[in-house]
Subunit: 253 residues, 2 copies
């Protein structure tokens, strides 16, 4: 209240601070380096702790910073390009797939998945849990929903659950002729189980990829994969990825 603002200020304070911090990250810090604590940073930039925290949150959203329990805030490496959609459609579990099946249960899927599979709201489907490692890091967790009608030859003699059962379901799925797939990407927050597997806190922002697999003129399987939004850039297309660490605010100096 004691100062007079001569010009309109179109940007909130934390937004300006974010820009200043981004420049400091580019010029003074290297990947993996631990940032000074919040008190020192707030003092250096002459802002309130709350403003600083908002700016740090933005930089975390943009993948520039990582906050890790017991470590503090570090400068993040560039995001990894992770191939999600390619022009050659293949079934989950096909050769070259970098997903690891860990479990399989019979369960009632979420209502929206049940509607796609036309299994009815109370019908159980094979639910394969897989996760994906890239460069030794867990990047995604998946639930793959497969109705009985898509794996008719699946034998009850196969392992009733666990990774062996998951592999049996995937193997049977390969027998169907895949006609196509479509995908959707949206923002979500990590559920408790996904968070644990992805080494994130519950509620952390994630990218949800829903893939619908078409065979025999219907939706033969639905995959819902949860990707870490902090470390992953999802790529689509023939070349397997746009090699760009994107930052629309950063210009050539």
């Amino acid at each position: 209240m004691g100062t007079t603002q001569l010009e309109p200020v179109p940007e909130p304070k934390y937004w300006h601070l974010k820009t200043v911090l981004t420049e400091a990250l580019d010029s003074e810090f290297s990947v993996g380096e631990i940032l000074p604590n919040e008190r020192d940073l707030a003092a250096r930039f002459g802002v309130a702790r709350a403003t600083l925290r908002q700016a740090l949150e933005q930089l975390e959203l943009e993948g520039r910073l990582q906050r890790r329990r017991g470590v503090g805030t570090t400068v993040a490496p560039p995001r990894m390009g992770v191939a999600v959609g390619s022009e050659q459609h293949t079934w989950p579990g096909a050769a070259g797939d970098d997903w690891q099946p860990t479990d399989c249960t019979l369960a009632v899927p979420p209502a929206a998945v049940a509607d796609l599979l036309e299994t009815g709201r109370d019908g159980q489907v094979h639910t394969v849990r897989r996760f994906r490692m890239t460069h030794g890091q867990p990047v995604a967790a998946e639930l793959l929903y497969v109705p009985d009608s898509s794996v008719p030859a699946l034998s009850a003699i196969d392992a009733p659950s666990g990774a062996a059962r998951a592999r049996a379901v995937l193997r049977e799925l390969q027998r169907l002729a895949l006609e196509g797939q479509d995908q959707a990407v949206e923002l979500g927050s990590a559920g408790a189980e996904d968070a644990r597997e992805l080494d994130r806190l519950p509620g952390a922002p994630v990218l949800l990829v829903t893939t619908r697999f078409h065979a025999e003129g219907r939706t033969a399987a639905v995959s819902v994969a949860t990707y870490r939004a902090d470390t992953c850039r999802l790529t689509f297309g023939a070349s397997g990825g746009v090699e760009i660490h994107h930052d629309p605010q950063r210009h050539a100096s």
Copy 2:
């Protein structure tokens, strides 16, 4: 401290609250309805305001709630499926495109874009600004970077800037034979200008889609599009979208 917890609590409080709130949203509220204020909600669920706020933030991330200035917190409609990648590749501005060009300037692109276009860190490129409306709502803002070499016949007589110039650049681009494209999706935060156009606060979570267009054996143009993460589900694939409002936590009742 006065109560004894007999069981380990693996989930943070706000996460549990989020689950409870989700059920309340499903059963008691309809789309567009304004939620009670934070004080009343906190009292109803017997939690601290800070816990409530965290849970509301999660639900906003998941697209279940919208917070709007001057209105309050409302129950969000299901996200819109917005087609981002299709199997038929076309140039920006091709027939059927629902983007509106608004401006075109000559500018030095971000360093990462300059590297893809091989225009050098100080080279200026035609920078077309467009935005996209779906169902009367702005859903995305785009910067399309086109080097001179991709539009060699572009005349200086054409409008020097503005929407007319943008249309001239797009028209010239159509002359090149498009060989393919690839795309990447990642989480970002809205810059000040994008935020204004998309009716969001600066720093709001957005989905950044980077598209590289290939022609004449090189990258002929790069588009960086900022999609509202609260209202959009980005779809990829032939059928134009997975018709699913995804919520991995919500199961059939």
